[in-house]
Symmetry: C2
Subunit: 444 residues, 2 copies
């Protein structure tokens, strides 16, 4: 039946595909009006709002949507295998191995069957995750849970609370390590959130994502997950980490500190980088060797978890740039902001055009913190007059804390106190390695 053979296609696009005798699974060659040529396997769509694109899975594993309007020629050049996925049987649990809970929240690592949509969708369950990487069962006794299934750009403070509470539950139930699968877009924000929300950890908590979905030959889903489970099961550490590829080679998975990491590339497998800090640990997939960084808190089953999982969204991160409208700070005030992180330039500066608005905010006891948009380095507001003027106003420099961690920490602090001085004190108090206070040696 034509409709099933061309599942998800409609209108003009459907007519054109029929005319060319294309079916789902056919290998098509499209020539664009600008004479670009695209070859790939026709895959089905589920997105009914778009009637204008043909979606091909290309040889390199990528999907591409090509507008019919821009296509001058469409040919079937062969019949490919219809996309399919075979699920291996779930691994047997091995008694005696460390117990690791895998909690799934969505994201590319939990996405496999993108053929239905022509795009990657969160679809895989935690059990699937474990079953597609059978070698996990030789590392740990795996126990899987689906918490929710969400693209990480939609994950925010309410999800952080759910995740923190789930971590507590899994540890209470005997997990000797927790792995949380998560989309990569906001993985580092969640890493910071859990670092603050679950303190005094007895065991490690590893967030893990994938930059390439698991149906692509270059996927990092399996190695990242294997590394995360190995570190959760075996590493002598008790901290929140983000387990991702170290570099473009396949064999080292690194656990970045949850408060010291950010996604630094839109698509590369080595997108995650530790900032102003060393990673917590690494796992070599080839040798099974774990390397720990000095000073990382060690496992201690007697340690009692402290859960403070609430976050207050009245914290605003504002990136400064030349020509910035200071009225946006006034707007934040009128929207009930209770604390501001300014992402300034260089050592922690904004233009003098912002001074009046900042004064107003500070006068109304809304604390204003400073980080730097340079990403790397430490803010230092004593070097230049601008910095000193801002310090005199009451703006608080956050040392070497990154902006993403700062906004998450501020939401967490605001949920615990209304006192401006307490907020300041809590923001500056090192917590889960988020900040390194200036020492004599570093004085600059």
């Amino acid at each position: 039946m034509a409709v099933q053979e061309l599942e998800g296609y409609h209108g003009q696009v459907l007519q054109q595909l029929k005319k060319s005798k294309a079916k789902i699974g056919s290998i098509l060659r499209l020539t664009s009006k600008s004479n670009e040529v695209f070859e790939g396997t026709l895959i089905p769509r589920s997105d009914y709002s778009d009637h204008t694109h043909i979606v091909l899975k290309m040889k390199n594993g990528y999907n591409i949507g090509i507008s019919l309007d821009r296509t001058q020629k469409l040919e079937v050049i062969g019949e490919g295998e219809k996309p399919h996925f075979t699920k291996p049987s779930p691994p047997a649990n091995h008694a005696g191995l460390p117990k690791v809970a895998i909690v799934s929240t969505g994201g590319t690592i939990a996405s496999r069957v993108d053929y239905r949509t022509g795009a990657v969708q969160p679809a895989l369950t935690a059990a699937d995750l474990a079953s597609v990487v059978p070698e996990l069962s030789s590392i740990a006794e795996i126990d899987t849970h689906i918490l929710f299934s969400e693209y990480s750009e939609n994950i925010g403070p309410t999800h952080w609370k759910i995740m923190a509470d789930e971590v507590a539950k899994r540890i209470a139930n005997g997990a000797e390590g927790v792995v949380i699968s998560h989309g990569t877009d906001s993985l580092h924000y969640t890493g910071a959130a859990l670092s603050f929300a679950v303190a005094n950890l007895p065991v490690p908590v590893l967030l893990v994502g994938a930059q390439r979905s698991s149906d692509r030959p270059s996927s990092d889903a399996a190695p990242n997950l294997t590394g995360a489970v190995a570190l959760a099961a075996l590493a002598d550490m008790a901290a929140v980490g983000i387990a991702m590829h170290q570099d473009l080679s396949d064999h080292i998975v690194v656990a970045h500190r949850g408060t010291r990491v950010r996604k630094c590339h839109t698509s590369r497998r080595d997108a995650f980088k530790s900032i102003n800090s060393e990673p917590l640990a690494s796992y070599d997939l080839k040798t099974g060797q774990i390397e720990m960084t000095n000073g990382v808190p060690k496992r201690d089953k007697s340690r009692k978890l402290v859960v403070k999982s609430r976050f207050d969204q009245h914290a605003y991160l504002i990136k400064f740039y030349p020509g910035f409208d200071s009225g946006m700070i006034d707007s934040a005030m009128s929207r009930g902001v209770r604390g501001i992180v300014l992402e300034g330039t260089g050592l922690g500066h904004v233009s003098r055009a912002l001074i009046d608005s900042l004064k107003k905010a500070l006068k109304r006891e809304v604390p204003v913190f400073m980080t730097s948009q340079t990403i790397w380095g430490r803010v230092d507001m004593n070097v230049y007059n601008t910095g000193r003027d801002l310090l005199n106003l009451g703006v608080i420099p956050l040392e070497d804390m990154i902006s993403e961690t700062a906004i998450v920490k501020l939401m967490w602090v605001l949920a615990q106190t209304r006192s401006a001085s307490k907020i300041r004190e809590m923001m500056l108090r090192p917590n889960a390695g988020d900040i390194t206070p200036r020492t004599l040696v570093e004085a600059s």
Copy 2:
């Protein structure tokens, strides 16, 4: 007289310094209440609003302000040399060498005498800049101009116009290369601004800054300036570049493309990095060798400069983060925003909580562009449903353009047209290497 000997100190701090028999130039040892020890030369202050800090110049060249409140002990441990500066005689002009105009706008590179304030101040003139680096006179016939003296965090669209017009004037007056000294905080924003504002360049324009002021042993002011002048005088290129240290070694100065560079560290000398692009050229201070990157526009004196130096500040850059209040987009609308650059996550995403506000903006013909806060990589909104939903709304992905360049370009485009379709077209049209359109090979 005590006051001159302790210039700039007042109240309690002055009393304490007198009691310890300290003078400007004395070497002091301060012990903090937390038992940190600071040693350095006492330097004068000009900031009368602050009565609570003692400012020392430390051995490593940094100045540090230490609060009297946190000091438990203050001793004079020696008499240092009173800070002074001797100005060499200005270099003679050498006829026959290429003519290079040095235009000074302020910043660390133009700051030397920080002893008056205890902090770095923009103070040095363009002529001083040339005279402190006498070797410049063997490279080019230097002609110096002070345009203004401003910390770069205060530099914005109105200054960009002044600089663009000055570049045009210098070229009209026969400059075979233009060097602009500028603070580093917003150096890359100005680099983008000039790239757009002065097109069809016949000669190179090099912005240059310094991460360390020229009175510090580790200063990069002289090498950066030398490299910038050499590239302006000698490199066979005609583009706007930012000349800065390549790495922590002293001998390579790199010209980054004005539209493809950002400050990536608060303080390191190699803070500036080319993003998603190769630098234009490099200059080896040891050998004098210039290396050019393929495809960079070459000098051509017959080329007629096109100056479009106006910028419209009704462009807003908004960084997304989990928990972002979509009402801030509504606030921007009510403040008269005419175009938005959203700095999204990953491949170019924001949470679904923003959809309604974005719809409203787009309905009112305010174009919304997407860049990524990952810094590196290309946005691709075809991969995930979130991206496709945003595309369907009308959000426009800016390929591999960096956020800082995007907001500057949008201000420049808004000054030229009010048509939404024209704005979109101009934003996506490659200009001074700001964007690389996706090609077949890169399709993903």
